[in-house]
Symmetry: C2
Subunit: 369 residues, 2 copies
DNA sequence: CTGTTAGCGCATTCAC
DNA sequence: GTGAATGCGCTAACAG
């Protein structure tokens, strides 16, 4: 059997074979109701037989809309993002959009490049989830009328929507949960102080403590960096403090995970010796040992709010001059990394500040060195 | 100050302002060397002043190449993938490509839709990382001359490249590592039997055991499903066996993590009571408690091989009729989830098959119920 | 070396 | 209700 050689199919070819004009083919495919059912049937027949798929590049060119939304994240490997990307894609599929995903990997050049790529592909809108962006880049986008949506850090201007996160709610719950468990010395491991979102979490912590008359000891406020390593370092700092905390709230889950990991190495049991609370509720949190109690900031909802905001912009006639402000709530999810505070005597006793060195540990160091 | 209203910039506008033809603008921007430096300078000046970015849609239309590579994964939230996506994007940026990421979420409809989206956007190639794909869909792609690259499961045909994974290497290392630690009863938790890659791992395990004269007990071969839940279930099955294993090799890291999590709940210590080895070496593995010994299958290298294969196809003149086969090696990374086998007496003693129920646990169940 | 012209594949006027 | 013609923004002939 001789296979027919591949010829790039186009609307013209369909038209020829269906014996109609290209305009009719276009109308049929796009569901314009004024097409004669007879002709439409002929067109669909040919389309299906030939497996014709319209060229979206061409469509975009003539229609002026690419049906692509940009999604800028700081790093896909940050466990906070995959969940968002997945939800965002689900919505994109649903609305017949494509998503152009780029990551900045904390590199200003890369961030600039991201924006450039978005513009060159003529995206219909951009969701920026990097917790910060240069004004000049925002200007680049806005100058070209590209609708934008930010989380937390967006400017209040036409064409730019914002999702404000209510950190206070969840963090207050976390602090009160700890207090209910008799914790009085509660530490906080912040994110990088350069991040507005990190600062907001810290402020929420401090306020929540004050609300219930708890003292926030300065030596119990540690600056982390939202990484696991940062969490590990934070635990070390906390160990060196004269009077140790019995509970600790972390600015994100990765920090909490790193901190728990280090605690394990030092023989500090969670939650018996130390209660740990995270923030974000990444999927991983529930699979930690023990499962992490954390403040949930729904990634699904975040994605949904962002997508809807963008969609709203492109669909509104007012040429994207509107601007919405939505708010994302946070709430505590209690799992097993928090428990009753140890009495201070017991606490001091049970915290053995020596590394557990096993044969296995030694072997590992040898084989990796 | 009155802002100049935005006018869609195009090559014609640049040409007018620089007092040259559109062809010259095009040549300049594309670095064609035969342009008079004087004119080029004038063009660049205008381009920079106006912040002109070429429209890639139009470029793609006329050039016939979109400079987009498709990347189909099964689920972005599977920790195995983000690392790959990141590496793939790094390469894309480097080579001036865009990536169209879609996930199939184990849904045939969605898989079909993925392929359709790829075709409609006229991608220059597709990397398929879903460990399986319908022949008819492959045919759809190949019929349109879209270069493809598969991992493990690709057909051997022109225009289709394959990355074969050498599972044997790493798994043999793992088995021998366990054997060196005096483990004789070693269990294996497989992936879904419908997955070729899972089957290959299991076969590699069995062969590795036989090579060193170790018996593989049928009751110690458990069918998992590459999820954490599956790992949890697997541990339960292993507990019910008359003579328990002292070591277990899992078909992927998620399984190992779930298994360890369940072991924790049952008071089974890793590695003192049970040595656990994973497969994949996802980033998370090193942050487990204890850090997971696992067989590494480099995600970075996988991404690189895939990208290069695609690039090779589009750059070769032979209209993508070539076909490469590359191999991805695997190797054991020893961390702390493996140790000396307990003597069988000790093993039975230390495995306490009762759930640890604490007040915290109760609280958690209450608050989530 | 530069400018003019003709499409790339499609949606959309405008006549009929 | 349908078709012929125009143009989206750009590159690649082709002349000059």
């Amino acid at each position: 059997m001789v296979e027919e050689f591949f010829r790039a199919m186009d609307i013209r070819e369909i038209a020829r074979r269906a014996k109609v004009s290209t305009a009719t083919v276009s109308r049929t495919i796009n569901g314009v109701p004024t097409v004669d059912p007879q002709l439409a049937k002929r067109v669909w027949k040919v389309v299906n037989e030939l497996g014709y798929y319209p060229n979206k590049q061409a469509r975009a060119l003539v229609s002026g809309r690419s049906r692509i939304f940009g999604l800028i994240v700081s790093e896909i490997t940050n466990p906070f993002f995959p969940e968002i990307v997945q939800s965002f894609e689900d919505l994109a599929v649903q609305h017949n959009y494509e998503i152009l995903l780029t990551s900045t990997v904390y590199d200003p050049k890369r961030m600039e490049l991201s924006v450039r790529r978005m513009i060159e592909r003529r995206v219909d809108g951009v969701a920026i989830l990097t917790f910060g962006m240069e004004d000049s880049l925002i200007e680049d986008l806005r100058f070209r009328n590209v609708p934008l949506v930010f989380v937390d850090v967006g400017p209040r201007m036409p064409g730019v929507s914002n999702i404000r996160v209510n950190y206070q709610e969840g963090i207050r719950e976390a602090v009160q949960h700890l207090a209910a468990f008799r914790h009085a010395r509660i530490a906080f491991v912040s994110g990088p102080v350069t991040l507005r979102s990190a600062l907001a979490r810290k402020a929420a912590f401090e306020q929540s403590m004050q609300e219930i008359g708890l003292n926030v000891a300065p030596e119990l406020i540690i600056e982390g960096d939202h990484t696991m390593k940062g969490g590990m370092r934070a635990l070390l700092e906390l160990l060196s403090v004269r009077q140790r905390p019995t509970g600790v709230l972390c600015s994100n889950d990765m920090t909490a995970i790193g901190l728990m990991r280090e605690a394990f190495d030092y023989g500090i049991r969670v939650p018996e010796d130390l209660s740990v609370v995270g923030f974000d509720d990444i999927r991983l949190a529930q699979f930690m040992i023990p499962p992490l109690t954390t403040v949930q900031m729904s990634q699904t909802e975040l994605a949904s709010l962002a997508f809807k905001a963008l969609l709203n912009h492109v669909e509104s006639d007012s040429s994207s001059l509107n601007h919405t402000e939505s708010v994302l709530h946070t709430t505590l999810v209690v799992r097993k990394s928090t428990g009753l505070a140890p009495s201070s005597v017991v606490a001091e006793k049970s915290i053995r500040s020596r590394r557990l060195v096993s044969k296995t540990a030694k072997l590992s160091e040898t084989s990796s060195g």
